[in-house]
């Protein structure tokens, strides 16, 4: 044990539906959880998670008329706060999971002393959207390339724009952006969408949406701001130009597990491996939500697994006399 005596029962890293549900349950179990919720950003890697960049959420049970993503997450957070969960709006810079209590740093990762010590940790760091990885993509963010359709759609009124991707996020963004744009071209590398049937039907029925099948973005055109994109046909390798002033990227997500590399078991693609419910490879560390889910990735499944992690952590703390002993069968 450290001499500080200032060891927390539980720290929750990440604050999407999974982390906040875990906070609600563990706060109600009097575990006084600290939620290190992340920092503002214009990507999905931010407090509240991916729903902060969405508009209408129509499939979250309990809201027959739908609910706005940011409003839903604010409700989650308020509910956790009501039962005494504490929040810190910072980003974790380093963890040491080699012994208990675990050490957690925010700010300078090289600081000799960790910022927090905790007997148990719930990892709910989620996933963040992938960028295309083409040249000058970063430079053109804010100049035609966008990671946030709800933030930036407004600036493309009457213009011709494109969305890259074929999943639910891409189709939802394309549909949303037709409120502003003259046309929205959905660029997808396959010849059919992965999005849910209802989203696909809606997009196909929308006269402003066009489909550019079997195409990937080869490069971006324009100096100061985006003037078009070069597309490559995945079948014929032919390159063509699409004249668009806006490009919204929704090609998928990668789990936020950089912090845990070498400390927790990960799949080859970076997702956290869990067993027996929400247990990670290290005793006392639990994981929930999209960081460990490459199958369902829904707000409701994230929330459900957050509840599981909370119950698992609570039972483990109880069985190990607040982390001072080990469970033989972890």
């Amino acid at each position: 044990m450290t001499s500080t005596g200032d060891v927390r029962n539980l720290v929750i890293i990440g604050s999407g539906p999974a982390g906040l549900t875990a906070a609600i349950y563990t706060a109600r179990a009097n575990l006084a959880p600290l939620v290190i919720e992340g920092e503002p950003s214009s990507t999905s890697d931010q407090p509240g998670g991916q729903l902060m960049l969405t508009t209408d959420v129509e499939n979250y049970p309990g809201f027959p008329e739908g609910v706005m993503g940011p409003e839903l997450m604010e409700n989650f957070r308020n509910q956790a706060a009501r039962f005494g969960a504490e929040f810190l709006t910072e980003r974790v810079s380093r963890v040491d999971l080699s012994q208990r209590p675990f050490s957690i740093w925010v700010g300078d990762p090289a600081a000799p002393e960790p910022t927090f010590r905790a007997q148990s940790i719930i990892v709910s760091t989620g996933a963040q959207s992938l960028l295309l990885g083409v040249e000058r993509e970063q430079e053109l963010i804010g100049h035609g390339v966008s990671t946030c359709a709800t933030c930036d759609g407004f600036f493309f009124r009457g213009q011709h724009i494109a969305v890259v991707g074929g999943g639910d996020s891409a189709v939802e963004e394309a549909t949303f952006l037709t409120k502003f744009a003259e046309t929205v071209t959905l660029v997808h590398r396959r010849d059919q969408l992965r999005a849910s049937k209802i989203m696909q039907d809606r997009a196909r029925a929308n006269p402003k949406i066009r489909f550019q099948w079997n195409s990937t973005v080869e490069s971006l055109i324009g100096d100061e701001k985006l003037a078009g994109v070069k597309l490559r046909d995945t079948g014929t390798d032919e390159v063509s130009t699409l004249d668009v002033t806006g490009l919204f990227v929704a090609i998928g997500h990668q789990p936020n597990t950089g912090l845990f590399k070498g400390q927790l078991e990960l799949e080859g693609n970076g997702y956290l491996i869990t067993h027996d419910g929400t247990r990670s490879s290290v005793q006392g560390v639990f994981a929930c939500g999209d960081v460990q889910d490459q199958t369902y990735r829904q707000a409701i499944t994230a929330a459900g697994s957050g509840c599981m992690a909370a119950i698992d952590a609570e039972r483990w703390l109880e069985a190990t006399d607040h982390g001072t002993t080990d469970l033989p069968d972890w």
Binding site: P40, G48, M52, G142, C148, C151, D152, F154, F155, E224
Partner: protein, 109 residues
């Protein structure tokens, strides 16, 4: 000026209010429907108090004031523009944490 020390700009008062300041002005381009804008609002509020006298903070609602965003090429929000002597001296696109914002504004403090 509002009680929190943050100026509220409009298209018609923009130049006048920017030029009236003796210190650099940080203008937060935002809108009600922008989640990340809402998230940095409290941080901007804290900075306005902490940097009072060195930096003047201001905000402009892009929805009600389209001219200013057009003029300064704002195509993504939140965007923070730092005006020094009436000219754009720095452009910060996207929401950021407090530490990173302070670092970016370091040249002006």
């Amino acid at each position: 000026m509002a009680a929190d020390g943050i100026l509220t700009l409009t298209d018609s008062t923009f130049d006048e209010q920017i030029n009236a300041s003796d210190v650099p002005v940080v203008v937060d381009f935002w809108a009600d429907w922008c989640g990340p804008c809402k998230m940095i609002a409290p941080i901007v509020g804290e900075l306005a108090v902490e940097q009072a006298g060195k930096l003047q903070f201001a905000k402009i609602d892009v929805d009600a004031n389209p001219d200013a965003s057009l003029r300064y090429g704002v195509m993504s929000i939140p965007t923070l523009l730092v005006f020094k002597d009436g000219q754009v001296a720095k452009r910060l696109v996207g929401a950021k944490g407090k530490g990173q914002l302070l670092e970016e504004l370091g040249d002006f403090i």
